[in-house]
C-alpha cells in the first residue's frame, strides 16, 4: 500500500485514520478483497503498477495476482469479461483508466451489463462495480477530464455514485461493491490526493460497542463531540444525499469534485451574510429526491453545480425533481452552473470551462435577486 495508515488516537478522534481519497479507496478495496473471496479487481495497469493513480497499489501482492490482475488494453474486453465473471459467481470491480475510456466499453456497459438482470428475469444479477477516475481539473490530455454521469444515469439498469472526500470514498465504495446491481463509481481524480479523516468500519463498530457499554454503565454525559461518523456507515447513511454544510438561505447541489468548490463558495458567501447549504448528492442514480425536497423546502432556493455539459446534464434532472416537490415554496427557478456544451478543453482553457467560484457566485446572485413577474 502506498499510504501508511496512521491511527491518530490523539488527533481528530480515536479510531480515525488520516487518508487521501486514493488511500481511502485503496483501503476499502483491501478490506473488500479480504471479506469477500469472490471479489476481483481487474483493468489496465491495476496489478503490478497499482493503477496510474495507485488506487490498487499493493493489492495484487497482498491478495494474489489471480484476484487483482492486469488485462490487455481493451475496455470492451474488461467490461465484457466482468459480465462473464459475474455470471460465474464472482464480484468483479473493474477499472477503466480514465473517464473517456469508458466510451470504448459503452456497448458492453449499456447493452449488456445494465440489462442482464432484466433480460434474465433476475436469474443473472450483475454485482459489478465499475471504477472510473472522473471529472477534470488536472490539465491532462484529451478524454482525461470528462463527466459521464448524465450518460450513465440515463441508462436503465445502472446505478451511479460519486464520493466527494476520503470518508465518502471509503464508505461508498464498500456500499457499492456489496450491492447486487451494477454501479458506476465515479472517483473525482482532482481530489485523489486530498486528505481527510476516515472512520473505518472496524473503528465504527468498536466505537459503537464502546458507546453501548458506556451508556449501560452510567447515564453518559454528552461530551458534545460528534460521534465517529458511525451514522455515515449505516446502510441508511449511504443510500442518499448528505448535507455537507447546513445553511438557511440557499441550497447548492453538487457531487464529486464540485462539493469542495461549493463549500469554498459557501464560506465566501457567508462573509456577505448569505447562509448557504451544500447538499452532496452522492448518488446520481437513484437521486435522493427527498433530501433535495427537504433541503430546498427549507431554503426555498437552489443552484445545481456540475462540470459536465449543460444540455441534458444531470442539473436538469435535479432542477425538475426540486420543481416537482417544491414548486409552491420556491422563490426562484432552480439555477444551473455547469460546464458548456463543448468537448472538455485542454489544460490552458480548463479553468474557463469548469464552474469556478465566480460563476457559482453569479448563479447564487441570480437566484437571490430573482423577481417574479
Amino acid at each position: 500500500m502506498s499510504e501508511t495508515l496512521t491511527t491518530s488516537e490523539a488527533g481528530a478522534g480515536a479510531g480515525t485514520v488520516t487518508l487521501s481519497l486514493q488511500g481511502a479507496l485503496n483501503l476499502a478495496l483491501d478490506e473488500l478483497l479480504a471479506e469477500d473471496p469472490k471479489a476481483l479487481v481487474l483493468g489496465e495497469d491495476v496489478g503490478t503498477l497499482g493503477g496510474v493513480f495507485r488506487v490498487t497499489s499493493g493489492l495484487a501482492a497482498k491478495h494474489g495476482a489471480e484476484r487483482v490482475f492486469d488485462t490487455p488494453l481493451a475496455e470492451s474486453g474488461i467490461l465484457g469479461m466482468s459480465i462473464g465473471l459475474a455470471m460465474a459467481g464472482f464480484h468483479p470491480v473493474p477499472e477503466v483508466q480514465f473517464d473517456g475510456f469508458a466510451y470504448p466499453a459503452i456497448n458492453q456497459i449499456v447493452c449488456q451489463l445494465a440489462r442482464m438482470n432484466y433480460r434474465s428475469r433476475g436469474a443473472v444479477p450483475m454485482p459489478v462495480t465499475l471504477r472510473v477516475p472522473s471529472f477534470g481539473g488536472i490539465r491532462a490530455p484529451e478524454h482525461h477530464g470528462e463527466s459521464l454521469e448524465a450518460l450513465f444515469a440515463h441508462v436503465p439498469g445502472l446505478k451511479v455514485v460519486s464520493p466527494a472526500d476520503p470518508q465518502q470514498g471509503y464508505s461508498l465504495l464498500k456500499a457499492a461493491v456489496r450491492m447486487p446491481d451494477p454501479v458506476i463509481f465515479m472517483e473525482p481524480k482532482s481530489r485523489y490526493w486530498q486528505k481527510g479523516e476516515v472512520v473505518t468500519e472496524a473503528a465504527a463498530a468498536a466505537s459503537a460497542a464502546a458507546a453501548a457499554s458506556a451508556a449501560a454503565a452510567a447515564a453518559a454525559t454528552n461530551d458534545g463531540g460528534r460521534s465517529l461518523g458511525a451514522a455515515d456507515l449505516t446502510d441508511a447513511g449511504l443510500t442518499g444525499a448528505r448535507i455537507a454544510r447546513p445553511g438557511r438561505h440557499l441550497t447548492l447541489v453538487a457531487w464529486g469534485a464540485m462539493v469542495a468548490r461549493c463549500l469554498q463558495v459557501a464560506d465566501l458567501a457567508a462573509e456577505d451574510g448569505i447562509d448557504v447549504e451544500v447538499l452532496d448528492l452522492r448518488w446520481l442514480k437513484p437521486i435522493d429526491a427527498e433530501a433535495l425536497a427537504s433541503s430546498v423546502g427549507k431554503t426555498r432556493r437552489a443552484v445545481v453545480v456540475h462540470e459536465g455539459p449543460r444540455t441534458s446534464g444531470l442539473g436538469a434532472e435535479v432542477a425538475q425533481l426540486v420543481t416537482e416537490r417544491c414548486f409552491g415554496t420556491l422563490k426562484a427557478p432552480v439555477e444551473r452552473v455547469t460546464g458548456f456544451d463543448v468537448p472538455y478543453p485542454s489544460g490552458d482553457l480548463e479553468d474557463e470551462y469548469i464552474p469556478n467560484i465566480d460563476r457559482i457566485l453569479f448563479g447564487i446572485q441570480r437566484v437571490l435577486e430573482y423577481k417574479r413577474g
Binding site: 473517456g100 470504448p104 468537448p343
Partner: protein, 369 residues
C-alpha cells in the same frame, strides 16, 4: 488484371466448400536504401532525438505540464514515415509520434502545443500536413485510416492511377493491438482491399504491461495471415530496415493490392510519460538488456562503415538538431493560451443558438475580451 477494392481470390469467396486458401501475397521487393537516404534518416533522427530529450527537461522546468517521450523509437518512426509521400499519403498518429510528425513536416511548436496543454489535438493543420490530430484514444484512429484509404480506392473509379493509389499509414502500439477496433480495421481493410499500412510499434510495453501479457501469440504481424494481409516483422531499431520494409508495404498498397502490416520490434526506453515511474514494473538491468542497440548510434555506425557520410557531416546534422530544439523551446515558451472563445467556435462548422448563448454568458461572467 486485378480489380481495385474487391477480392478476386478463392480465399475471398467464403462459402466455397473445400476451396484451398491461397498463399499470402509476398510484399514486393524495393531498391536498397541509398547512402544519401541514410544521411537523410540521420538528419531527421538526430533532430527528433534532441527535441524529445529536450522536451523531458522542459517538463522538469515547468515549460510543459507533461510529455510522452519516444526515446528509442526514432528509427521506427522516422524510418516508416520516410517511406510515405506527405504530399498525397496520410498519416494517423497516436500521442507518441513526434518522429512521424517531424518527418511529415509538421511544425514542431504546433506539435508540442498538445503537451503544453494548449490544444488537445495539436495546433497544426491536419488537412494540409496530412497528419491527423493527436489521438489520445488508444487505437482510436486505426479505423479512420482504413476509411481514408478506401476513399482513395473509390476515387480511382476502378482503375489504378498511373502514379498508384495514395496510401494511409496508421500507427498503433502493442497495447493498442488489443483493442477490438484493430481487429475490425484489419478485417475491413482486408475485405475492401484498402491501401493502408498498419504500422505497429511493438515497444515492449503498454504503460506497465509487457508485450508478453498483451499480445497472445507474441506477434501482431502473425495475425495478418488470418486476414489475408501480408505482414512483416522488422528490427525497429534499424532505421534502414524499417524504411525498406515500410516501402515494400507501401508499394503493395499503392499498386492496388490492399493492406499490409509492418511490426517494428523496438523498445520504449523512457517512462510511458513524465508522470510514470517505470521502477514499479521493470529494473534498470532489464531496461539495459531489452532495449537493444540505440537506433541513432547504430545508424551512425552504419553510415560511417559504408562511407555514406563523414563524421563532420554527421556533426553538422547534430548541431542543426540542437539549434532546432532551441528554436522550438523558444517557440513553445512563447506559445500563449488560446482564446477561450475557441472552445465555443470550434465545436461545429455551424454553431447552435444555444451554444452562442452559452458563449455570451461565459464572456459576460468571465469578463473576457
Amino acid at each position: 488484371m486485378q480489380t481495385l477494392g474487391t477480392r478476386t481470390t478463392a480465399a475471398g469467396r467464403a462459402g466455397l466448400a473445400g476451396a484451398p486458401r491461397e498463399p499470402l501475397a509476398e510484399l514486393p521487393a524495393v531498391a536498397p536504401v541509398a547512402p544519401n537516404e541514410l544521411v537523410e534518416l540521420y538528419r531527421l533522427m538526430t533532430s527528433v532525438r534532441q527535441l524529445d530529450v529536450a522536451a523531458i527537461s522542459w517538463q522538469r522546468q515547468g515549460i510543459l505540464p507533461a510529455y510522452a517521450p519516444e526515446l528509442g523509437q526514432e528509427a521506427a518512426q522516422v524510418g516508416s514515415a520516410l517511406a510515405l509521400d506527405p504530399s498525397r499519403d496520410f498519416a494517423f498518429p497516436t500521442y507518441r509520434e513526434l518522429g512521424v510528425a517531424r518527418a511529415f513536416g509538421v511544425d514542431m511548436v504546433e506539435y508540442m502545443s498538445t503537451h503544453k496543454a494548449t490544444w488537445h489535438g495539436g495546433l497544426w493543420d491536419a488537412a494540409t500536413t496530412h497528419v491527423a490530430p493527436i489521438q489520445a484514444v488508444v487505437a482510436g484512429s486505426v479505423l479512420h485510416a482504413v476509411g481514408w484509404a478506401h476513399g482513395q480506392t473509390l476515387e480511382a473509379h476502378g482503375e489504378l492511377p498511373a502514379q498508384g493509389l495514395a496510401v494511409a499509414i496508421t500507427y498503433l502500439g502493442d497495447g493498442a493491438s488489443s483493442q477490438g477496433d484493430v481487429h475490425e480495421a484489419m478485417n475491413f481493410a482486408g475485405v475492401f482491399k484498402a491501401p493502408v499500412v498498419f504500422f505497429v510499434q511493438n515497444n515492449g510495453w503498454a504503460i506497465s504491461v509487457p508485450t508478453e501479457k498483451q499480445v497472445a501469440g507474441g506477434s501482431v504481424a502473425a495475425r495478418g495471415a488470418g486476414y489475408g494481409i501480408p505482414a512483416v516483422q522488422v528490427d525497429g531499431n534499424d532505421a534502414a530496415a524499417v524504411l525498406e520494409a515500410t516501402r515494400r508495404a507501401v508499394a503493395h498498397a499503392r499498386s492496388g493490392h490492399g493492406p499490409a502490416i509492418v511490426e517494428a520490434m523496438t523498445y520504449r526506453r523512457g517512462p510511458h510519460a513524465t508522470s510514470d515511474d517505470p521502477g514499479r514494473y521493470r529494473t534498470l538491468d532489464e531496461e539495459r538488456e531489452d532495449a537493444g542497440q540505440d537506433p541513432l548510434a547504430r545508424l551512425r555506425e552504419l553510415i560511417l562503415a559504408e562511407g555514406a557520410a563523414t563524421e563532420e557531416i554527421l556533426a553538422e546534422a547534430d548541431a542543426a538538431g540542437a539549434a532546432e530544439a532551441e528554436r522550438v523551446r523558444l517557440g513553445v515558451i512563447a506559445l500563449g493560451p488560446r482564446r477561450g472563445a475557441e472552445m465555443f467556435d470550434l465545436v461545429f462548422q455551424e454553431p447552435t443558438d444555444e451554444l452562442l448563448r452559452q458563449k455570451a454568458n461565459w464572456r459576460e461572467e468571465s469578463e473576457h475580451e
